[in-house]
Amino acid sequence: MKRETLIGLIYLIVCLLFTALGGYPLYLQRQHHPIPVEKVFGKRHMLSDWASWLKGSRGDTDVFILEGSESGGAILILGGTHPDEPASFVSSLIALNTIQVEKGRVFIIPRANASGFTATEPGEGHPAFYTIPLPNGNQMKIQFGSRLTNPLDQWPTPDVQPHKPSGQLLSVKDLRNLNRCFPGDSCGLFTERVAAGITKLIRDEKIGLTIDLHEASLEYPVINALVAHEKGLEIASEALLELEMEDLHYSFEPSPKKLRGLTHRELGDHTETVPFLIETANVAQGRLRGRTTHEMITKGIDAAYFKAVATGLLKVPYDQNGIPLEVRCGRHLSAVIQLTHAYNLAHPSEKILFTGLPTYTELTQSSVGEYLK
């Protein structure tokens, strides 16, 4: 055998080895895992029940409807718009496990961008999964996911394309970001089709209140914040006052009119719903973070961010205790409760009443796992 052939053969074997050993975990990651809840109080649907164009596609996702005995208004809780923001998904899971609706309907989409849960962003070094300890000693395994749609589901993506309908130019990354693609386009790119599905659900079900749960890195200015469309200003002020009473501080951010494609802008402009977006602080998605571990994701502890306190750039207080999921989910769920109360005050004929959702205080005094059993 010639020397070149031998070298070529060795390279080929090494390549195959890498493909197999690296590809298998990526293949497992690409699977859609069932929503990890044992018992759901409501009905389980798919988004394609409203948006037929998503039927059979990897953009189709679970929609849970929890109905009260009395008719009333409707609220949509959006989790997992950005899958790499764990408190968003976990909060919606807690809601699914605990909420008991008395009046009206509660819609929960835990994985708004289901495709994004099946990949991590190359170059970020994120783990494929993280675990949450449960009281029975087991671990709940959750896909970490990417901020963006899996490129295997949307590829190729144009380098630049105008947002529909505003015409604002979106870059290749924006076009895979669900929270830049609203109100969506049923004939557009994969992510636009998912956004269009959610928008259609909101229209068809006459959702009065939409709450999109997010997280942001600690240096990002819009953090521990409530972002509101102009038609929700009154509700936001009322809710923020109530949250202050619980000693929970949120900065208030009006939805910018020039930044297109976001839930709090487009859903407000193009549907009847009153949209809000809530941000908590997540070290695992920041660029200042050290190694991304399960602990960092669930407990929010990171030595690099602790060192970064000295830069004065962090927008939230940070110490060695970190910012655990209990704090982040607690903030989300307390805000959901208070926004719903405020919505009820503003819309007495479309009241939504529910119980069981843990508050910030309850969550921080126990553990997230307690509410996921």
């Binding site: 690296g22 190359p122 070094g125 380098d159 870059s171 990354k173 930044l259 991304t292 830069t311 750039l313």
Partner: protein, 425 residues
């Protein structure tokens, strides 16, 4: 930070001592980095890292294929003669045309490599034949391609920066033009005006011979694929609302298909083989950088680097950015924009964010000329036939410095610049 230094040391050792190709050396440094960081056999991360630059890899492969097709079909030679024929009387006019010509593909695609590999390859012989050294020609092509990449309408690093701080990609055009045109003109005239003027004085014209008589109909026809590709790229950028962007690689493939009838049938297979051979080392570099970046993030070294940069006092942060961002840009201009650019921009909130973001994108972009990878330099070396890409860096250094200083001046005076350009924020 120790992990990062160790990885760089391994890279240096593998490249300069064991003489391994840079792509392989970067890949192995990334692989060994996971052991340094305590992750051991991180196959998933290594493979994921290989895909960081998947789209740019496709652009490079298809651009090279298209370029080789144009070369084999004789289109490049014809176009070279054509350009020269109409700008031969004035070195200044010739240079201005070349600045526009060399910056255009980068401005349209947001990629310096696309510019170097297309118009760069077309322009290289023109400069070399007229007295510019091979090294200076390569440096000039690479630098103008980088300034083109940063120039409007498409600047991918600034789009990524804007995305990182939730800022719409609007209103950047004026500041990007202001940042790129002056250094581009200084670079072009500084490097090439002297030799061109001397050539003109000696021969009375920039032309070697009268080429016009040799322009035949079939040669004009061979411009068709290039024309179609240029028009398509231009149209999708200028009218994105009406024309669907099928992606730069698809456009280049389309152009290649169109150019096949113009290539002599005996040369067709050779064309593909040449393109394959040229693109393989570049693919290796991009794959290697991806693995290196993935490891940096995985083991936390990236965070260390960013925090250390941000620990600089705020007044010194722009200088820090002008030093660290190009160096990180050596691994990836896009990586530099997102990893370092976003936190630095957030640290400078309060100045005009559009001007600051534009300046930071210039710093990141100039990383394409920095060793160890120097992507634009590497491609330019290939285009001009220089084996050692490092030879191109030396003549480029004063102009890189001019670009950085100009960027710094704009950054420091962001408020004044925004007023000057009539930008209201």
């Amino acid at each position: 930070m120790i992990a990062l230094l160790l990885m760089l040391a391994i890279f240096g050792l593998l490249t300069f001592w064991l003489k391994l190709p840079r792509g392989i050396a970067l890949f192995l440094s990334g692989v060994l980095g996971t052991f340094i960081g305590g992750y051991g056999l991180a196959f998933r991360d290594w493979v994921e890292g290989m895909f960081v630059f998947f789209d740019p890899i496709l652009i490079v492969c298809t651009a090279l294929l298209f370029l080789k097709s144009l070369e084999q079909s004789g289109t490049l030679g014809f176009l070279r003669n054509l350009l020269l024929h109409y700008t031969a009387k004035s070195p200044a006019a010739f240079l201005l045309a070349m600045v526009f010509f060399l910056m255009l593909p980068g401005a349209m695609t947001g990629l310096s490599s696309a510019a170097v590999l297309t118009t760069g390859a077309l322009a290289a012989p023109l400069f070399i034949e007229r007295g510019l050294t091979v090294k200076k020609t390569g440096a000039l092509i690479a630098l103008l391609a980088i300034f083109g990449m940063i120039a409007p309408p498409i600047n991918l690093p600034v789009m990524m920066l804007a995305n990182g701080v939730d800022m719409p990609f609007i209103g950047f055009e004026k500041s990007l033009l202001m940042l790129t045109l002056p250094p581009a003109l200084i670079t072009a005239f500084g490097m090439a005006y002297g030799p061109l003027l001397r050539y003109k004085k000696t021969y009375g014209t920039l032309l070697h011979t009268d080429t016009k008589d040799r322009f035949t109909f079939s040669q004009w026809l061979s411009l068709f694929p290039l024309l179609m590709v240029s028009v398509y790229i231009l149209v999708i950028r200028l009218f994105p609302n009406f024309i669907h962007d099928i992606g730069v690689p698809a456009v280049f493939l389309f152009g290649t298909l169109l150019s096949i009838p113009f290539i002599p049938s005996s040369k067709r297979l050779e064309t593909f083989q040449l393109a394959y051979r040229s693109s393989l080392p570049v693919i290796a570099i991009l794959v290697g950088i991806g693995v290196f970046l993935q490891t940096l993030a995985l083991i936390g070294a990236r965070g260390d680097l960013v925090v250390s940069t941000l620990l600089l006092p705020l007044p010194l942060l722009p200088i820090g950015a002008a030093i660290v961002m190009p160096f990180f840009g050596a691994l990836s201009a896009f990586g530099s924009a997102t990893v370092l650019g976003v936190p630095i921009l957030l640290a400078m909130l309060g100045k005009n964010e559009i001007v600051v973001g534009a300046a930071l994108s210039l710093f990141a972009g100039l990383g394409d000329m920095m060793p160890p990878t120097a992507l634009a330099g590497t491609f330019a070396a290939e285009v001009v036939g220089e084996k050692n890409y490092l030879a191109l860096i030396r003549p480029a250094l004063p102009y890189i410095a001019i670009g950085l200083v100009w960027g710094l001046l704009v950054l420091w005076n962001a408020g004044f610049v925004s007023q000057l350009l009539g930008m209201v924020q």
